[in-house]
């Protein structure tokens, strides 16, 4: 059972790595921000799996905090960058 | 029946200014000045009590929370801590008195600054800085020292930006980044030492450390970090702008006290924790850099065109002397103690003289609106007391005979010659001559007839206390020379050289 749980956790981590590509390539700020949102969700899931797999229930609290705080950066983002400019390549001096 | 432990006196130099800082912040306005002045006698008395106890009863240790050392944090006071505390109390008291006048005059939006009550912001920051210094000088725990270092840095940053000028903000950011790099290097050393030895207490580390690779790495990391924080050449780049653009009382505090904090930690670790076989191969590095600092800083001071920058570069030079201790003081030898105590004495003397010089420069800036050295003659007529103070402080900085700096340099010279360090001896002498050269640039102003008195320049009135407190501090630097014998005796208490001497005295 544990092997399965930890295997799934590992798989989710690989997902995070795949999501990093979107942060890396962009091209717009919105893409990057949304991709980082994915990590909040996936991180929560990883933590819940780890809590089971390592039988450390305290990790669930961390998952809770993850889930609650992941939106903070996004909310700050949407409040600070008007959507119009972030959607049309409002990234910071890309070369392309 | 005492209500508390007698060694509880160690707590008060830390807690009194901290608690007052909180009250000053909450009440604000005029109250912050009143509280700031009111706490001065309390802090001075507290440090005096600590010194008195150490003098009569030997080194004092106080377990905070009643948890003894490896588990809890201990405060520890020996002769070195007491000397540093006295220095901090003395300069802090003078700067507090000076600041009352200084910030009263500068609350208005006079020089294009946004109007804000700088005084009300100054006091909480300064009191916290004072508390942080005392916490640092009394701490016996390497992680706690890290926290006090950060406290000290952030308080210093807050004080530097009080003027709000662009130059100050830029200098503060540079200072902050350098300081953060320094404390991270130090913290990395702490991590290695805890990982290897499982304790953070200086005394237990001193007993348990063995010469191994991790300790050597820790020593190097901590050394580089603390040298960066003490602005040892060539890591001094952040100091002149920060010290030159801060308000005058703040510059006095930074040059006189704050840089001594990180130097103190290095001094303590070097002689109390690290075994000799590690420090010996490294002795030349800080000493050579110190010598380079003396020459480079003096050269820069010679060509500076503003008085405050001259004084700031002079600090870079004088800090070089402090680092000679690592080359000259050998643990276990009698000349070792002589060199070690001479350097500490030099630090005390430098703190007073340099503090006085910065305060004087601040008065000139306050009165004339500028501190250009070539225009000083026009100002000197208006501020005879201040220029007299500059003269006295200069004597202290150059190290002319009655001063403590003279005693210190003389001892260092003797040890250097005795140990065959001819190069260092030459630099010690040369540094004194260079100091005389750049300080005479300023002193000449006092004796030069002002060419054309510019009637367009409006001079501001200066509160008397600013001038008198500056002169007082300058005189302390002069009189310290007469008191150098008791200071050296105080330093002997609990120093790395004291145990054999105590054993000799016992039978």
């Amino acid at each position: 059972m544990n092997v399965l749980i930890l295997g799934v956790a590992f798989f989710l981590l690989v997902n995070v790595v795949a999501g990093l590509v979107r942060v890396w390539r962009g091209p717009t700020a919105l893409d990057r921000m949304l991709a980082s949102q994915l990590f909040g969700t996936t991180g929560t899931a990883i933590l819940l799996l780890l809590a089971e797999g390592l039988s450390n229930p305290a990790l669930r609290d961390v998952a809770l905090v993850f889930a609650l705080l992941a939106p903070i950066a996004t909310v700050v983002f949407v409040r600070r960058w008007p959507l119009s400019s972030s959607a049309n390549g409002g990234s910071f001096h890309e070369h392309e | 029946m005492p209500v508390t432990h007698a060694d509880a006196c160690l707590v008060w130099p830390i807690v009194a200014p901290l608690a007052t800082a909180l009250a000053a912040f909450v009440l604000g306005g005029r109250w912050s000045t009143r509280l700031g002045v009111a706490v001065v006698p309390i802090v001075v008395a507290a440090t005096a009590v600590v010194t008195w106890r150490v003098w009569h009863h030997g080194p004092q240790t106080y377990s905070l929370g009643n948890w003894p050392a490896p588990l809890g944090i201990e405060l520890h006071a020996d002769g070195l801590s007491c000397a540093m505390l006295l220095m901090s109390a003395c300069i802090g008291a003078v700067v507090s008195v000076y600041s009352v006048g200084y910030f009263e005059g500068s609350t208005t939006a006079s020089r294009g600054q946004p109007q804000k009550d700088t005084g009300a912001q100054f006091w909480p920051l300064w009191l916290m800085l004072w508390s942080a210094l005392h916490a640092l000088f009394l701490s016996a725990d390497i992680f706690n020292l890290y926290v006090t270092l950060e406290l000290l840095t952030l308080a210093a940053i807050g004080l530097v930006v009080l003027t709000g000028t662009r130059a100050a903000v830029e200098a503060a950011l540079r200072y902050l980044l350098a300081a953060l790099a320094g404390s991270l290097l130090y913290l990395a050393g702490v991590a290695l030492m805890y990982g290897a030895h499982g304790t953070l207490d200086i005394a237990s580390l001193g007993r348990s450390v063995t010469a191994d690779a991790s300790l050597q790495a820790a020593l190097l990391l901590m050394m580089v970090g603390l040298m960066l924080k003490t602005a040892l050449f060539p890591l001094h780049f952040w100091l002149p702008p920060a010290h030159g653009s801060a308000p005058a009382p703040v510059s006095a505090l930074l040059s006189g006290l704050v840089v001594k904090g990180s130097f103190y930690i290095l001094l303590r670790l070097w002689f109390d924790v690290f075994p000799q076989e590690f420090t010996r191969p490294l002795t030349l590095l800080p000493a050579v850099l110190g010598a380079a600092a003396i020459l480079w800083g003096s050269m820069q001071a010679l060509v500076a065109d503003r008085l405050k920058m001259l004084v700031a570069y002079s600090t870079v030079a004088q800090l070089g002397y402090l680092f000679l201790v690592f080359g000259l003081a050998r643990p276990g030898s009698d000349t070792g103690f002589a060199a070690w105590s001479a350097v500490v004495l030099f630090a005390l003397s430098h703190a007073c003289a340099k503090g006085a010089l910065f305060l004087a420069a601040g008065t000139i800036l306050h009165v004339a609106g500028h501190d250009r050295i070539r225009d000083l003659p026009a100002v000197s007529r208006r501020l005879p007391t201040t220029f007299f103070a500059i003269g006295v402080a200069s004597v202290g900085l150059m190290g002319l005979p009655p001063t403590a700096a003279f005693v210190a340099k003389w001892t260092l010279l003797r040890v250097a010659l005795g140990g065959g360090h001819i190069g260092l001896a030459v630099v010690i002498v040369l540094g004194g001559l260079l100091a005389a050269a750049y300080l005479f640039r300023v002193l000449a102003a006092a004796f030069t007839q002002p060419g054309v008195v510019d009637t367009n320049v409006s001079y501001r009135k200066v509160p008397r206390w600013m001038e008198y407190s500056t002169l007082g501090l300058a005189l302390v630097s002069l009189l310290l020379g007469l008191a150098s014998y008791p200071v050296i005796e105080l330093l002997r208490i609990g120093s790395p050289w004291s145990p054999p001497i105590v054993q000799e005295a016992a039978p």
């Binding site: - | 946004p114 109007q115 992680f143 926290v147 950060e150 840095t153 952030l154 940053i157 807050g158 930006v161 662009r166 903000v169 830029e170 503060a172 950011l173 902050l176 980044l177 953060l180 790099a181 991270l184 290097l185 913290l187 990395a188 991590a191 290695l192 805890y194 990982g195 953070l200």
Partner: protein
């Protein structure tokens, strides 16, 4: 490779990368980011070394020290960012809104 070794080595790399970034990166924001990463590296070394014996619970002291360190780091970061903000907004703007 034990987890301790793995994470301690990562801490070392992060510390070196952050420290080098502090000196080599030109932009101030990146310097501030670098300091934060170097700090995380040190913390990682601290906590990884606290977990060397797998059969006993990890040493709580370094964890407490790291918690203190994180709070100190966020304070210093906030001050650095406020200074940076002041630099980018200075001085043309009128001081009063």
């Amino acid at each position: 490779m034990t987890p301790t070794l793995n994470y301690a080595l990562t801490g070392v790399v992060l510390f070196s990368v952050g420290l080098s970034g502090l000196f080599f990166c030109a932009h101030l924001l990146r310097k501030i980011l670098s300091v934060n990463m170097a700090g995380s590296g040190v913390f990682l070394v601290f906590v990884a070394l606290a977990r060397r014996q797998p059969d006993v619970p990890p040493d709580p002291v370094p964890q407490a020290l790291v918690l203190t360190g994180i709070v100190v780091a966020v304070s210093a970061t906030a001050v650095a960012l406020a200074l940076f903000r002041r630099l980018t907004h200075e001085p043309a703007e009128e001081p009063h809104g």
